[in-house]
């Protein structure tokens, strides 16, 4: 593999796929789907090849590609992966492929543009995880926004335009602050050493004053906290999730939310260790609030997608809680929560999508008794619900357990509170599962004057669909082969991560040790 730019290849294959669809004006919807699937599969295959060639014992970056780009400004084209990014990279290529399969039949409207957006989004997401130059990172970070906003705004449901614009403006505001942070950092390093560079690895060598660190840390942190999203920066998330098409929700939850945690691990901790220590108590407090808040709000949701969305806010609290514990358990926990959340929450959104296709509603009260006529579906939904609430033996448990353990070591109170509220996630998840799968299906039509029911049950404005009350959940068919293909890999991985987390921790170890080194490598 020496010399073959595998990271560039896997990042740009989707872009090439998008270009083929774009410049082939008479490509049919069918052709567009196949091209998109082909491109995402090639990218997935390349990422697996890369994972196979990844040296798990080496610390530092691997598969590095480094060329000058704008030398006068110290900007270079610099790609590389370590244990943190390599797993997120494979998660991205896998989820994109599944998302394309999941939108095979449901998306019938402007299919070419849809597939182009999906592929551009994939290139953007992959680029974020492999860029080691801040300028390059920022470009990919922003590039991602447009296709995601389009996915929500064009193929979303009733209130989609509001959600798309809110998503865009929220994340843009955050990342623009980060841009000022990037430039300030560049200038500070230049004044210190006389070297113009935006290379992250090089910038880590600088010594920055405490107040400077505090400010620039905040500039980066807000961008990542919005993306993550951390309470109180989370308000865009429920809107975006509820309005996005299924595949959009999958990628939003599965990959985009991971970029916040990734950014903290890659930039905030190594670049500003002193500021990280000073900010840690505040951030841990916000994390705990987020965990409780997300769970409580999830409890009262009537809309399935909103429930999953708020559960994400709660889960992301465990990520920041773990990261800012600065010890081995916390960091492993944060990474495993991210990976597990990527698998489980994506799978839950796919599950919601499957019954939305059949019932054209997301209202929990409109479903019931699915375990009788959709046994396979109900088993999958059960598995992922249990994984999400953190049942031992499934992926969710490992991450949350480690993260709480880390927090307990660092800040006893935070650990105790976080541990006490885990029960809430069991409550909302199991209650949701009970109502959807076991409870008797509703016989009376919903009250048409209820505004919430109206919104969650509205027929899709562009794709059409029957009125919610016209479809009886007792007539739903079980999952098709295509839907099975999207759920099965995620189920396997969830089980694997639950039973054998050691494999993942081995991959992560060298990179996380490096992250923890300014904090004394506690626990490694």
């Amino acid at each position: 593999m020496d010399g073959f730019p595998i990271l560039s290849a896997l990042t740009y294959v989707p872009l090439v796929g998008a270009a083929i669809i774009f410049f082939w004006p008479r490509a049919s919807a069918r052709a567009a789907r196949w091209i998109a699937l082909g491109a995402s599969l090639v990218s997935l295959a390349l990422s697996l090849v890369m994972l196979a060639g990844f040296d798990r014992d080496a610390s530092g970056m691997q598969f590095v590609e480094h060329y000058d780009w704008l030398p006068a400004l110290g900007v270079s084209y610099h790609f590389g992966v370590d244990g943190i990014s390599v797993l997120l990279l494979v998660l991205t290529t896998l989820l994109t492929t599944l998302a394309i399969v999941a939108s095979w039949d449901p998306v019938q409207h402007r299919v070419r543009e849809y597939m182009i957006s999906m592929l551009l989004l994939e290139t953007g997401m992959l680029g974020v995880f492999v860029s080691l130059d801040l300028f390059l990172f920022y470009i990919f970070w922003e590039v991602m926004l447009i296709p995601m906003a389009l996915l929500i705004g064009v193929w979303g449901s009733a209130n989609r335009i509001y959600a798309a614009v809110k998503f865009f403006l929220y994340t843009l505001a955050g990342s623009l602050l980060m841009l000022v942070g990037i430039i300030a950092l560049y200038q500070a390093y230049f004044e210190q050493t006389g070297i113009r560079t935006l290379n992250v690895l090089e910038l880590q060598q600088g010594n920055y004053g405490h107040s400077f660190q505090m400010w620039v840390f905040a500039a980066f942190f807000i961008a990542f906290a919005i993306k993550m999203p951390m309470w109180p920066f989370h308000t865009w998330l429920p809107d975006a999730h509820v309005e996005a098409p299924t595949a959009g929700s999958v990628l939003l939850a599965g990959v985009l939310l991971k970029m916040g945690g990734y950014g903290l691990l890659r930039f905030n901790l190594p670049l500003f260790p002193d500021a990280a220590r000073s900010w840690a108590p505040a951030i841990m407090a916000l994390s705990v609030i987020g965990i409780i808040y997300g769970a409580l709000v999830a409890l009262v949701q009537t809309d399935l997608k909103k429930l999953v969305a708020y559960s994400s806010v709660s889960h992301m609290g465990f990520v920041t809680l773990g990261i800012f514990a600065f010890n081995a358990q916390g960091l492993y926990g944060a990474m495993i929560v991210m990976l597990s959340h990527g698998l489980v929450t994506s799978a839950l959104f796919l599950c919601v999508g499957i019954i939305y296709e059949r019932g054209h509603t997301r209202l929990i009260s409109r479903f019931g008794g699915l375990a009788t006529n959709m046994p396979i579906y109900a088993s999958f939904l059960g598995l992922f619900s249990l994984a999400s609430l953190g049942l031992p033996g499934l992926s969710g448990f490992v991450g949350e357990f480690l993260s709480i353990l880390g927090a307990f070591r660092a800040e006893r109170v935070a650990g105790v509170i976080a541990f006490a509220v885990v029960i809430l996630s069991a409550w909302y998840m199991l209650w949701m599962y009970q109502r959807v799968a076991w409870q008797r299906a509703p016989s009376e039509p919903p009250d048409p004057t209820d505004p919430e029911a109206k919104q969650a049950g509205a027929p899709h404005p562009v794709m059409g669909g029957a009125e919610a009350d016209a479809v009886d959940p007792r007539t739903f068919r079980d999952v098709t082969w295509r839907e099975l293909v999207t759920l099965a890999p995620l189920a396997v991985l969830t089980l694997w991560m639950g039973w054998a987390p050691q494999w993942f921790m081995d991959v992560l170890r060298p990179a996380l040790e490096l992250v923890a080194s300014p904090f004394g490598r506690i626990g490694f």
């Binding site: 400004l73 470009i139 590039v143 447009i146 865009f168 403006l169 000022v180 430039i183 200038q187």
Partner: protein, 497 residues
């Protein structure tokens, strides 16, 4: 002062001479050719502009020579200005091609005169860029402005056009008077109008203990106000929205860029080259102007539903961003990024802004209007036009990897280098505000269904122009290394000397 008669070096003004010849040719064609063959003059103008642009290669810019008794300088600054206005000129002629002959009222807009005025204004701007003397700057600005006043009122039977043209003319004439008054005070204080000599005579004044003379400060203020009108800086911007809205759309495209280039070129020549030693006195003024201008332009643009007016206010916002570059001036040295970032911004601005107006023109040639509603559902009607508009809007907003992002990045970099963190933060915040109104155009194109009648019409030259601009907006940023080096060369020459 004895005046020596020196043989001028004609070789240094070849680009200007070619343009002058083209103007003569276009006017002769107006007389000689029958009306229906006037379309050929578009090609004459394009060829002239291209030739003038190419002829820049024949000149040795590194030598930085001057001629006509120091009136005219051929240095890297003039080269870059020639480059910007040459490109902007070609793009403006391309988008005018479909609109002007069959425009608002058929027969009302004679193409040859349109082209001649356009070229004349380009020539004026090139002279400002190459000016070595205050008088030359004045002449160039007047030559450029008067042609644009006429162009603004080109749709002479439409009231809004006349209103815009009249406002532009009256305020512009007023500004010119202030400008020349400032030049007179400068002459009074320094005894010369040659830019380089002014700088030489100012240096001892500044380093001396007596402080800066009040007459110099008055001159500075008058010059800043006069040039502020030309670049539409707040509070001297009143004419802009009306003029942009009233003018035929291709003219709005043109005047949003080239007269602004003239204004900024004059600012760089006057403030940096001549009054550079006084920079302590004008830097704060420019920084405050930059802040006020970008805040006002971006905030007011939010309320606009007429896309041309919206672009008018947005161009005020961009004036603010470019001024940030100038405000970061720290003395003529190779490390100074102020002028370089400003020049790069002007070039990228030419691509994205003429492009945005070009799409408006494109809609108008198809029988639609210029409000947001006319953009509804453009993505279903014409995916390519919608993608082009999306690229221009996102670039104006400053989204990577489009050129607008790089332009803003360089300006912010210059500001941070000059310790103007507050200005850098302001640029960033205003970019977020601007996202609101730029995105609205994108949103109605993609998220709404089309409404209104639509007639299909072939406009090959306009389409090619739009494609070129979209491509330029997409690629210029990624390949900005060499362009930025070129923009940086002028100040580097000072470091050596």
């Amino acid at each position: 002062m004895p005046v020596e008669l020196v043989r001028p070096e004609w070789g240094l003004i070849v680009p200007e001479l070619i343009l002058l010849g083209t103007i003569a040719l276009v006017l002769a064609g107006d007389l000689a050719l029958p009306r229906r063959q006037h379309g050929v003059l578009t090609w004459v103008a394009l060829a002239g502009l291209a030739l003038s642009l190419l002829s820049n290669l024949t000149i040795d810019w590194a030598a930085g020579r001057s001629t006509f008794n120091g009136m005219f300088q051929a240095d890297y600054f003039s080269l870059f200005i020639n480059l910007v206005v040459g490109v902007a000129g070609i793009l403006s002629v391309m988008i005018a091609s479909a609109y002007v002959p069959g425009g608002d009222e058929p027969g009302d807009m004679p193409l040859p005169e349109y082209l001649a005025l356009l070229l004349l204004s380009i020539l004026g701007t090139m002279l400002v860029g190459a000016a070595g003397d205050l008088l030359m700057i004045f002449l160039g600005i007047e030559m450029g402005s008067i042609a644009v006043y006429a162009l603004t009122g080109f749709a002479r039977r439409r009231v809004t056009a006349l209103e815009g043209a009249l406002k532009y003319f009256l305020l512009g004439a007023f500004a010119t008077a202030i400008l020349i008054y400032g030049m007179a005070w400068t002459y009074g204080a320094t005894g010369t109008t040659a830019l380089a000599d002014i700088a030489v005579r100012l240096r001892p004044v500044v380093t001396g203990s007596g402080g800066v003379e009040p007459s110099l400060l008055l001159a500075l203020l008058l010059l800043a106000v006069g040039l502020g009108f030309k670049i539409a800086a707040v509070p001297f911007h009143m004419w802009t929205p009306d003029a942009y809205q009233g003018a035929p759309t291709p003219v709005s495209a043109y005047m949003s860029v080239v007269p602004k280039v003239a204004g900024f070129a004059a600012m760089a020549r006057v403030l940096v080259e001549a009054l550079g030693p006084l920079s302590d006195s004008w830097l704060t003024l420019i920084a405050v102007l930059a802040l006020v201008t970008m805040v006002y332009g971006n905030v007011v643009a939010i309320a606009q539903r007429d896309v041309k007016r919206m672009l008018g206010y947005s161009s005020i916002g961009h004036t603010g961003y470019i001024l940030v570059g100038l405000a970061a001036f720290s003395g003529l040295s190779p490390d100074d990024r102020s002028v370089g970032s400003m020049l790069f911004y002007l070039l990228s601005y030419a691509f994205m802004n003429i492009g945005a107006f070009g799409v408006v023109t494109w809609l108008q040639t198809r029988g639609l209007g210029v409000t947001l509603d006319d953009f509804r559902g453009l993505a279903t009607r014409s995916p390519l036009a919608a993608i082009a508009m999306t690229i221009f809007m996102l670039s104006l907003m400053g989204m990577p990897p489009l050129v607008g992002f790089y332009a803003k990045y360089y300006v912010i970099l210059a500001a941070v280098q000059a310790d103007l963190i507050w200005l850098a933060v302001a640029v960033v915040l205003m970019s977020a505000v601007s996202a609101f109104f730029y995105l609205r155009v994108v949103a109605v194109m993609y998220f709404n269904e089309p409404s209104g009648e639509w007639k299909v019409q072939p406009t090959p030259l306009l389409g090619t122009g739009l494609a070129l601009m979209a491509l330029g907006t997409l690629m210029l940023g990624l390949l900005s290394g060499p362009v930025l080096d070129l923009a940086q060369k002028w100040v580097q020459a000072f470091g050596v000397a």
